[in-house]
Every structure is written in C-alpha cells, then in structure tokens.
Symmetry: C2
Subunit: 185 residues, 2 copies
DNA sequence: TACGATATAAAACATATTGTTCTGTATTTG
DNA sequence: CAAATACAGAACAATATGTTTTATATCGTA
C-alpha cells in the first residue's frame, strides 16, 4: 500500500475517532473529518464510499485487533471449563478493553456506543461459534444460546461503561459467570 | 387538544411509521415525512423540534400502549412465581407484540430496530424494577441483574424477529425461562 | 352565530452537506 | 528518469435544514 494512502487513511481514522469522542456519529459531517484530518474532499471519497463505510472499516480494524490474539481454547464439551478460569476469553477481552485498547472503550463509551456494540456482538457471536463447543441444554437452540451469551456479555460491558468502569475485569467475570454458568448446570 | 393538531399529529405519526418500514431512520428526511403526511414544513416544526424528537414521541406513544395494561403481579420474593406462569408479564407482552400491536413489531423489525430496542429495554427496566421483587443472588448487584433480565428479553425478541417470528409466544417464554430461571436456583 | 385565537399552508430564504468532476501538482514505484 | 497514481483545490448541482413572512382556514367559545 502506498505510503500516501497509509498516511491519509490513518489521518482520517484518527480524526474520526477523535470526533466520535466529542459528538454523536450521526452529527459528524464528512467536512469535519476532512478538515481535522487535513485531507481533500476528493481524497476522502477515494478511500471511503460513505461515512457508514468509514465506520465499518474503523470497527473492523479495532475489533480485529482485539480479537486477533484471543487465547485459543481447546474444544471442550464442558462450557464451565472455558468460563471458570481467570484467564478466560472474557477476562482476556476485558483486560484488553481496559488496558490496551483505550480507544475502543472511548468508542463504546461515546454517544454513538450502540452502533459499535452491534459490531461487538457480531464479533463475539463468531468467536463463540468458532472457539467454544457448548453443552447445549436440550430445550434451547444452539444459535439462540450463543446469541444469549454474547448479548449478555455486551449488556454487561454496556452496564460497566455506563457506570464509569468502576469494577475490575475479574469482578465482571464473576458477574458474568453468575448469570451464564447456571444455565449449564 | 385542537382537532387540527390531532389530525396533523397522527398524519405525521403514520407517515413516519410507514417510512420506517421502508428505509433506515437515519436516511429518512423531514421532507419525505411532510410530503407523505401532506402537511406544511412550518407545521412539522410547530409540532416537533427535530426528527429525533418525533422518534421519541412515537416510541413513547407505542410502548405506553403496550405497557399500560400489563397485569399487576403481587410483590413476591420468589421470582419463579412471577415467571413460571403462562400468563406471565413476558408472555403477555409477547402476545401483545404479535397480535395487537403489529406496528410495534414493524418498527422493531425495521432497519432501525436498534433505536427502538433501546427504548424497549428502558421500559422493561422500569417495569421489572417496579413490579417484581427479585430474590437477588448475593454475588450480583440488583441493578445489574435487572439490566441482565431486560437485556436478555430484548435480545430474545430481536432473535425472534430476525428469524421471522417463527416461534410461538409460549415457546419463547420457555426459552426465556431456560436462560433466566437457573440464575435463581 | 359571530368573534378572537390559533393551526396551518405556501413560499422564500440563508445555510449547510453531499457527492462529483475538473485541473494541476506532488509522490511513489519500477 | 518516467509512468502511474495519490492528492489538493476549486467549483458544481442537488438536496436538506430550520426560520421567517404573509395569508387563509378552522377551531373553541361567548
């Protein structure tokens, strides 16, 4: 990739994320983005079809980064094996969110949080589908169960953010286990 | 309230809901709304400050209607008493959604569903806070638990909608119980 | 019924955003 | 060095927003 393209792309990304922490996604204009990024109008539209397109690419970039180094868990039919450890996938992600990917938390915390939580949930759904073999209770479809688990996690993170990130990742993991584990026992 | 106001208000509401079933909320313009509602530009802004304002009022109107006749459940410290009945609050709401308030389902099903699911969840949070006394497991804050329950319900409804409303309200209630009840036992 | 109050329509308006097109310049790659 | 490509800058049409003004129709009430 051309160095010029890299610079432009990252300038636009930075400005966009910066703006997101200050105002709602829907209120952000392309004009503001290119002004802050200091690139021409033509350039923006050469890189991204629309503002929504930019949003998707930013999400993909950020979440790919978080989810790329998720510790592999050997397939197991006992879900509790995967969950009941401190260094579980969940805690791992929470630590990432808190310590290494502050800008993701900024995004999830911002006024447009819902937009991103949707992406976040999709990534989680994929992750759980691929990496964890669940012991499915008979009365519930697997697809729905996975959806419930990732939905509950996103819900928890949302609650965590709205409350001001007051709990530790470990504490959140305990909460998560408290609402999810009983399903399997 | 002036009959003229009522007419324009309901004309705008109808057009707005109609448009929502066809395109994303964010793509709908005030111009389209007033064209379809056949009211003047001035009139729209006399009734609603912004499009977001209109959205809020529509949500309030629809959800108030659904939640207004929720059966009162005597306070109980046993959550399962409230949940383990067919005519529980949950089933009641599901029936409403399916049978009596088709336009709410239209809205939740539409491209902008998330916007409304957020409102939906707020209403549920209030409902649960006011009407149900939960037996709180020690390890989890009440506020978070309520949030988890309403979040799980919204999540379930979303899954139901995306799958094409194939399950009966009773079946959904079973699913809901399968993921929620174990927390309390 | 008649009157004053008010809701509306219609049009014009300034302002802002969008996405495209053109031309010329700077940078990279081979 | 040379060709390809990314960019800036400017201009552009099309569209949306929210406000203002004037005139008309409808309402509630005395």
């Amino acid at each position: 990739m051309d160095r010029r393209q890299q610079k432009t792309r990252s300038a636009i990304f930075s400005s966009f994320i910066d703006l997101l922490s200050k105002k709602n996604y829907n209120k952000i204009t392309v004009q503001e983005i290119i002004d802050m990024a200091n690139v021409g109008r033509t350039t923006f539209y050469a890189h991204f079809e629309t503002k929504d397109d930019l949003l998707k690419e930013v999400c993909a970039s950020l979440f790919d980064h978080v989810f790329s180094d998720v510790p592999q868990i050997e397939n197991t039919h006992d879900f509790s094996v995967a969950v009941n450890k401190t260094d579980t996938i969940i805690t791992h992600i929470l630590y990432h969110l808190r310590d290494n990917h502050r800008n993701i938390l900024d995004i999830l915390t911002c006024d447009s949080g819902e937009v991103f939580l949707k992406f976040f949930k999709h990534y989680l759904n994929d992750l759980i589908s691929k990496h964890i073999v669940l012991k499915i209770p008979q009365e519930i479809p697997e697809e729905l169960l996975i959806n419930h688990i990732s939905g509950s996690f996103v819900n928890l993170v949302q609650w965590w953010i709205e409350g001001g990130l007051k709990q530790s990742p470990e504490q959140l993991t305990i909460y998560f286990e408290a609402v999810i584990n009983p399903i399997f026992s």
